[in-house]
Symmetry: C2
Subunit: 344 residues, 2 copies
């Protein structure tokens, strides 16, 4: 089968930063299903793994990237309970295993959602990782619910990105919170408004614009961007006894005392925690994806798909990595597998 | 009225580290009540404030320490709704105001609990600050409840101290969690067992003893002792998606990434946050103290009082500060105001 991966951690400009591979099609066992992939999307974690993986595996085995896929079940392991051949599925998967830049992929059924016929593969492929991240951050970590009314507020830092775009929609669908988000470019602001933001503020003058809009404090902050650079700003903006949730690894040690007098709570949200550590908790991700599919089917949540490439090949993926490394992406970029065998 | 305070931040060995003062008895206004104090207890925050307060107040006004008191209401402000003359009360108060090392003290009624006749002032004075801290940490921050069964576990670091001693009892009364606590000396271990701990481990070999007892991970950690020194240990012992709550200010910046892969949540609990920041939330502390009084009256929670001094004078308070600075206190030390006017 065709796959795209790498053997050495290289800048995207290098010829071998991503390479085409011809691998043996894997066979599912136990709880694994084998998925024929129809579309994938690319996330910042993809280029971070590409940049930082020291490959010292036996036989120089390449690493296949990719943690967002939609496709069809073509084989199942002997312990699979929830899926059968022909089922349409979507999932983020497990960062410790081979990814979805491949014609076929093995994935544990507990991490996989059912995809209704009415949702196109392209729209579905944009969603799993960002939706799982946003859902876990908002509802498992910060424990938002429908009783959170507009007398309380949430600030989403990085609203136009993948996680931010889903988070805005989930907050507006599932809670009554007043929702403020950051964006700077005109098109990003428009995108955030379109996703449902009540107020969009410029991240370059965040505290100032918040104060101008009458928001000295917010009850919740979901930071989808950069933990370190926003640390001091978040410690100013969070209300006493408020809750901050961060996604991006911090580059240096942080002064936690800045949020102590306010008795603030801080959560990390890492979408692969369940896959890596909590075998019995993995199926929670299946449930989240199934609920998300329901919300998409009833048009309550729209796909954050913003750009489609129609060739699954090294050139396409290099271009997408370059774009995402620049940090200015709006919504999600999806790769359609329709031209998997005619990429030249 | 007689009070004990300081004008300069000094080591306890210095003559003027604590001094006796003769102050004008204050008059309550608005939501304040005036309390004639019958007993106080001493907390680590007392010596920390004594050591670190730079007094640059007008007229060289001395700082009165003390944030645990039990007494009787002798005057009320014109907006007081919940108390009348003669009511027995107990409270921690507000760190930004003058403290309870005094014959009389002003305190906002929203921070004060009613004290039933059946609970002696001495037993009550030991409780407010530690109970509010433990309660807010366990039930507001970590959101423990009765549905938390013994299939889950909590580690309380520093079980024999003031906060630890109440926290052990609250966890056993209000949840089904398996409760592990640290203690090292024989008498501390015995004290923790007596408060209700299921397992006591030595903090000098914490990870080792936990593993030996079959606890690779715990679901919750309440650290009543030292945030910095336990950072790495906590990051090892907390389960993925677990919750840590810390009380003690950290001395240096911390590597938050150590708990990122596990998607851990970290809360600060600072007992004065409500008094300092959240006017509308202050009355929550009155409710907590009232519930605590109910639990004490029905013998479900026992006072953590461990030692009584019967003279309210500079010598007594210097001795107690010395003892608490040593860090080896068990339970709480209370000062009975019975000999307030005959201390020589």
């Amino acid at each position: 089968m065709k796959a795209i991966g790498f053997k050495k951690s290289l800048p995207i400009s290098e010829a071998d930063s991503l390479i085409e591979l011809d691998l043996v099609q894997p066979i599912p066992t136990a709880n694994d299903i084998l998925v024929k992939i129809e579309a994938i999307s690319v996330n910042p974690v993809d280029y971070k793994v590409r940049q930082n993986t020291n490959l010292l595996q036996p036989h120089d085995q390449p690493k296949i990237l990719g943690w967002d896929a939609a496709g069809t079940v073509v084989a199942v392991g002997d312990k699979v309970d929830h899926f059968k051949l022909g089922d349409r599925v979507f999932y983020a998967g497990d960062i410790t295993r081979q990814g979805s830049y491949a014609e076929f992929q093995l994935v544990d059924e507990n991490l996989v959602g059912h995809l209704p016929e009415s949702i196109p593969f392209l729209e579905a492929a944009a969603m799993p990782m960002t939706s799982l991240t946003a859902w876990e951050a908002l509802f498992e970590k910060m424990k938002l619910d429908q009783e959170d009314t507009c007398s309380k507020s949430i600030l989403i830092i990085g609203g136009a990105g993948g996680v931010g775009s889903v988070a805005i929609q989930l907050v507006k669908q599932m809670t009554g919170l007043h929702l403020i988000t950051t964006a700077s470019r005109l098109e990003s602001k428009k995108w955030c408004k379109n996703m449902g933001a009540d107020l969009v503020v410029d991240h370059r003058n965040l505290v100032g614009e918040m104060q101008q809009a009458g928001h000295e404090h917010v009850d919740f902050i979901l930071n989808c961007v950069n933990t370190d650079d926003y640390w001091e700003i978040m410690s100013k903006l969070i209300r006493p006894e408020g809750h901050i949730c961060c996604i991006a690894e911090s580059k240096w040690a942080l002064d936690l005392n800045m949020i102590r007098m306010k008795s603030v709570t801080l959560s990390w949200e890492y979408v692969f925690t369940k896959a890596i550590y909590i075998t019995e908790g993995q199926s929670v991700q299946r449930n989240i994806l199934n609920q998300l599919a329901g919300l998409m089917e009833s048009k309550k949540i729209k796909s954050t798909l913003n750009c489609v490439y129609k060739k699954f090949c090294v050139e396409t993926l290099k271009e997408v990595h370059r774009k995402i490394e620049s940090g200015s992406s709006i919504g999600k970029t999806v790769i359609d597998f329709i031209n998997i065998n005619s990429c030249t």
